[in-house]
């Protein structure tokens, strides 16, 4: 065991967990990483490309190596950083990207073959023989690639979304963030303080310095208590601000249940935070220094080593006597040695690359020295130290590497602001052009010392909330002393990006092959493209490339950062409702009636509509549909048509307005009458159609197709507000306010006369009449319109009475054989009559193609009229025609294409396509509608409906699209 004294873990309680199936114990406050360390586990994972043995390298979300699959089955979470997994009782984790076992990984051979796997090698080979790529090479590569595996089953956990609004969002709960929150919180601003860790404090929890001569954690807990007591401050723990979006909007992921065996409610909550101002106080991430074989388990970041010692009371030693060395180019590296010595841990030495390095504690110091090699197959056993050309190999189990700190400025450049190189900080600092309302404070802005961090947090918060900075504790203020060493030259591989196995050699190769721009370097070597997004690698790689090109780092430039800061589960982004609640469902007023009748339902946009109403004994849907169709043709049928859009249009200029909306005239429509109307898009193509009823002098009701209801309303509001705001017209949608039932068939008048309190005779209420009336003592609207071609009406009552009205009509019409019919029969009836619907009005058809060219009035201006007269639309000879197969039983399918009998079946000879098709029980034949080139001229001729996709063809006679009653006598009876 390598647990040592101290730390912020609760030793009074023990948690049990498994890694690779082996049982271990840890304590509350542990991460999986610290707990594994405490159990002497050094080998945790394998690298992506070479499958190199890897251990724990960092102590936070920047971890490149220690990736595990957490949990199992449907809950398996691949690629999870051991350093961010909060230990819970019963936790199970396994390593990834290895076979058969972590200790012995067959694909370790990749490491031996590494000379052939240099940067970009795969672009240069695997091309012969051609067929082998998909069949052999690629499958091998795909199998070897990837890291962890998904469970493959539906994610069983629930996710939540929410929206928060605040004056000030503080990103990071370390010294800087706490000072800022205290300042703004006391000033009464509404503050949200978010931190990705399980507890507030940031680096303060990981360092040994005192605040006001007391342990820093005491101060942290004091502040935390005060913030908790402020009603205007909201603390979000375990919450990562992962993205900065426009106008002060941030994406935040709260891990509500990830620290539990099973979430109590939701696993994670996605918060969209809208903040007037924000302070980025995300601290900094330590760099390493590439040197020969620098990737062995036991080699980790100096600051991380310090964190494990101070916060978790643990070291990566295998046994207490193991010696620990530090390799650094700056003073901060020495701190780790000082903390280790203070804990009585054997320190081999501090190897400092600087000639002028000073010893800051009781340990041996090698000045002007570097680490030039390491040994140890599955874990570090010794290191080579080179000083003045002399190399000695010393036994050493742990090596802390400190290459200076990179400010965590990611969110500051999510709007593509370019980080600025600072020689003084030997790091990139936040860009000038920050996201709207954002300020950067503390280590994220290059203020590294505790004192400087506290001060900048308090001061910036004070500026933003126009108040005094909170008084701050006394804190260390050590200056930043560093002489950057970007890599230790050598022949053996020195890793820069650990997870993707990018070495200094790969960068040199990219340079040699002229892949020098930063983006080429990144893409050629895959640098920074791993799950850690190169948090510990990118800047170092830039510096190496700069050295190779002889440019400065500033000249070499940098890549910018993109969301998310750390990877975010798609479950959280996709939010709670997938499944059947993915989108709203709209039900018709007679839905209960249809359910009771056992009707199957069909999706029409968001609506569910009854498809047909099967009767006992009917075994095939066609039986039901044919029966329903014939019932309408010979008797009377009922169909809920509520889904059609209804837009109420009022105002003294309503008629004039509608004249401009419809391509045909509407102002001339008489009160109490209905007219069919066609709307065009401004580009001249047909947009939508329906009936328009004039209920009063200044009151019209426009009906739209189900699919376009919302779009037409938007278009009409555009016309009203943006084009002709001086017209006196008011619009409002009433689609849901009225239940509308089509009553169709020769016996429809007879049926309606039994419930409607009005004279329905042809004289009193002729075809295309409308009226406000009463049915069963209830206010109602009656329209004499027909979609089926039969004598028909549509009757509308207040929505909530629709179901009862349907039942009543069934009751009083029993002797007439009244029959409810669904969308299938509706479709057959309208095809028989040759009415266009969405299949014809598909946005690609002109009024001419639909046979309505003459409807486009030239006597008035209306939307689309001018553009409908463009050459291409006028010259288009395609027309909607009817098609009857020579063999009535030959099934025609919508989507077949049309050809002259002798023509070759190819694009050039394509004459059109079938838009709609069905079996007509009335005509005892399959029938279809389609757009056909020279359609009018070809009436009576034969075309082939070709469906090569499904391998069938049928010769058809070209007929009028009005298969029944072309003169429309039935409608008018």
């Amino acid at each position: 065991m390598t647990r040592i004294s101290g730390g912020l873990i609760d030793r009074s309680r023990t948690l049990s967990f498994t890694f690779e199936g082996k049982r271990y114990e840890g304590h509350p406050g542990d991460t999986l990483a610290s707990a594994l360390m405490a159990n002497g586990v050094r080998l945790v994972g394998r690298s992506f490309k070479y499958h190199r043995p890897r251990g724990i390298f960092a102590a936070g979300s920047e971890e490149p190596n220690a990736l595990v699959t957490l949990r199992s089955g449907a809950r398996a979470e691949p690629n999870t950083r051991a350093t961010t997994i909060e230990l819970y009782d019963g936790l199970e984790a396994v390593s990834q990207n290895r076979w058969p076992s972590l200790a012995f990984d067959a694909l370790g051979v990749n490491d031996l073959a590494s000379p052939f796997f240099a940067a970009g090698f795969y672009y240069k080979t695997f091309m012969w023989p051609k067929a082998f790529w998909e069949k052999l090479y690629e499958p091998l590569i795909r199998r070897a690639a990837g890291l962890g595996a998904l469970g493959g089953e539906p994610d069983p956990d629930a996710y939540d979304k929410g929206f928060l609004h605040c004056d000030l969002l503080i990103i990071g709960g370390g010294a800087t963030g706490l000072a800022a929150a205290l300042t703004a919180g006391r000033a009464g601003a509404s503050v949200i303080l978010a931190d990705e860790d399980m507890r507030l404090g940031g680096r303060l929890l990981m360092e040994s310095h005192a605040l006001n001569d007391a342990p820093a954690v005491d101060w942290v807990q004091g502040i935390e208590a005060e913030l908790e007591s402020l009603p205007n401050v909201r603390i979000l723990r375990r919450t990562t601000i992962f993205g900065s979006f426009d106008h002060g909007i941030f994406g935040a992921l709260e891990r509500v249940g990830d620290h539990l065996l099973r979430p109590e409610t939701v696993r994670q909550t996605l918060w969209r935070i809208t903040a007037k101002r924000s302070i980025l106080a995300a601290g900094a991430t330590e760099r390493h220094i590439p040197f020969a074989s620098n990737d062995r388990p036991g080699i980790l970041l100096g600051g991380a080593l310090r964190a494990y010692v101070n916060r978790w009371g643990v070291t990566p030693q295998a046994k207490d006597s193991d010696r620990i060395a530090i390799f650094t180019d700056n003073d901060d590296g020495h701190r780790t040695a000082i903390d280790l010595v203070a804990k009585g841990i054997p320190v081999l030495a501090v190897i400092d690359a600087r000639e002028d390095a000073q010893r800051l504690g009781e340990y041996q110091l090698y000045k002007g020295a570097t680490v030039t090699g390491t040994q140890g197959r599955l874990g570090l056993s010794s290191i080579d130290i080179t000083q003045n050309g002399l190399t000695r190999t010393l036994e050493c189990a742990v090596l802390g590497v400190s290459g200076g700190w990179n400010p965590n400025l990611h969110l500051a450049s999510h709007h593509r602001g370019r980080p600025v190189w600072s020689q003084a900080h030997s790091a990139f600092l936040p860009p000038e052009d920050l996201p709207q309302g954002m300020a950067v404070a503390g280590a994220a802005a290059g203020h590294g010392s505790t004192h400087a961090a506290l001060r900048s947090g308090a001061q910036i918060a004070a500026q933003l909330s126009e108040c005094k900075p909170a008084e701050l504790p006394l804190a260390e203020d050590a200056p930043h002393r560093q002489t950057p060493l970007w890599h230790v030259p050598g022949k053996t591989r020195a890793w820069v990006d650990f997870q993707n196995d990018v070495t200094v050699k790969d960068i040199a190769l990219a340079h040699r092959e002229n892949m020098r721009p930063v983006e080429h370097l990144k893409r050629w070597t895959t640098l920074g493209m791993a799950t850690d997004q190169g948090k510990t690698a990118n800047v170092t790689a830039l510096a190496v490339m700069a050295e190779l090109t002889g440019k400065t780092i500033a000249q070499t430039g940098t890549t910018i950062f993109r969301p998310p800061y750390t990877p975010v589960a798609l479950g959280a982004l996709g939010g709670g409702d997938s499944g059947v609640h993915f989108r709203p469902t709209r039900l018709t007023p007679t839905h209960p009636f249809a359910v009771q009748r056992g009707a199957p339902f069909v999706e029409v946009g968001q609506w569910l509509r009854a498809q047909y109403f099967p009767l006992k004994g009917e075994t095939h849907w066609r039986e039901s549909v044919d029966r329903e169709v014939l019932a309408v043709r010979s008797g009377v049928g009922l169909c809920d048509v509520t889904t059609l859009g209804k837009i109420d249009v009022q105002g003294t200029d309503a008629g004039d307005f509608l004249n401009r909306i419809y391509c045909n005239a509407m102002a001339s429509l008489k009160v109490g009458k209905v007219r069919y109307g066609l709307m065009l898009r401004e580009d001249g193509f047909a947009y939508d159609d329906g009936t328009c009823a004039r209920l009063g002098e200044q009151h019209y009701v426009v009906t739209t197709t189900t699919a376009n209801a919302g779009l037409v309303y938007r278009q009409m509001e555009f016309a009203r507000q943006c084009l002709w705001p001086d017209l006196d017209v008011q619009l409002i949608s009433t689609t849901d306010a009225w239940a509308q039932i089509a009553v169709a068939g020769p016996k429809s008048r007879e049926l309606l006369s039994r419930v409607v309190e009005a004279d329905l005779s042809n004289e009193a209420f002729p075809f295309m009449a409308c009226a406000e009336t009463r049915v069963c003592g209830l206010r109602a609207r009656l329209f004499r319109i027909s979609f089926s071609g039969e004598l028909a009406y549509e009757i509308a009552v207040p929505t909530r009475y629709g179901n009862a009205l349907m039942a009543r009509l069934m009751e009083v019409g029993a002797d007439l054989g009244v029959t409810p019919y669904g969308t299938e029969a509706l479709g057959v009836l309208r095809i028989e009559k040759g009415h266009a619907t969405g299949a014809e009005l598909n946005g690609q058809a002109s009024a001419q193609m639909l046979g309505m060219g003459r409807m486009v009035s030239t006597k008035k201006d209306s939307i689309g009229a001018v553009m409908s007269r463009r050459e291409g639309l006028m010259a288009d000879t395609r027309r909607l025609v009817g098609l009857m197969p020579q063999d009535p039983q030959a099934r025609i399918l919508a989507g077949g294409h049309l050809f002259a009998p002798e023509a070759e079946r190819k694009t050039e000879t394509d004459l059109g396509w079938v838009t709609s098709a069905c079996w007509s029980p009335h005509l005892n034949s399959y029938i279809a509608l389609g757009f056909l080139t020279d359609g009018e001229a070809r009436l009576g001729e034969t075309v082939i409906v070709a469906n090569p996709l499904e391998g069938d063809e049928a010769p058809c006679k070209i007929v009028s699209p009005h298969f029944i009653d072309p003169e429309g006598g039935r409608l008018r009876d």
Partner: protein
């Protein structure tokens, strides 16, 4: 007087109701609705003696409530039996305005908290993307909620009404109830 029996928006003869911790959700079937729009240059009426409210607000007096829905447009709501012709009533109250019946168009869910504002505020932040100030007592807003367009009316600190289109009443109820359920299990 009709002899047809109406259904509630959620499809049953009786209104749906449920309790989730401190919160109770109740379908309100006795809300008659009609919209009012000013004609060009028309004066602003005071139907039922109500001063029509400005943007983002509502006014209530007795059983009638007026809600701003857009420039020169309001929705009026009153407690009425389902077959009442509220639009006709309003037309008489606001001559020269464009009045449109809306009663059947909407499903109204009343949400009440037994423990003050907090549970409603927690619920709202899970449902709608509006700053708390936009939904404090006396305020009302039309906004998006789970891909639905809704009116949210903050009747008082501990009472809230949410109106969504009646055809999607089931989806609205699901969204509200699921959110309330999750809050409950937190409490």
């Amino acid at each position: 007087m009709t002899d047809l029996t109406p259904l509630c928006a959620l499809g049953a003869p009786e209104p749906r109701r449920t309790a989730r911790g401190a919160l109770s959700l109740t379908e309100n079937p006795d809300l008659a609705l009609a919209s009012l729009a000013l004609r060009a240059g028309g004066a602003q009426p005071a139907p039922f003696g109500l001063t029509l409210p400005g943007p983002g607000a509502f006014n209530a007096s007795g059983e009638v409530l007026a809600l701003w829905t857009g420039p020169g447009q309001w929705m009026l709501a009153a407690e009425r039996s389902p077959d009442a012709d509220f639009a006709a009533e309003l037309r008489a109250q606001a001559p020269g305005c464009s009045i449109t019946e809306q009663t059947g168009g909407w499903c109204c869910v009343e949400i009440a908290s037994a423990t003050g504002a907090a549970p409603l505020d927690r619920l709202l932040e899970k449902l709608v993307n509006l700053p708390p100030a936009a939904l404090c007592p006396g305020r009302a807003a039309r906004t998006g909620l789970h891909h639905l367009s809704v009116f949210v009316i903050r009747r008082s600190t501990d009472r809230l009404a949410v109106l969504g289109m009646s055809s999607a009443a089931g989806s609205l109820w699901h969204a509200l109830d699921a959110a309330a359920l999750r809050l409950e299990s937190f409490a």
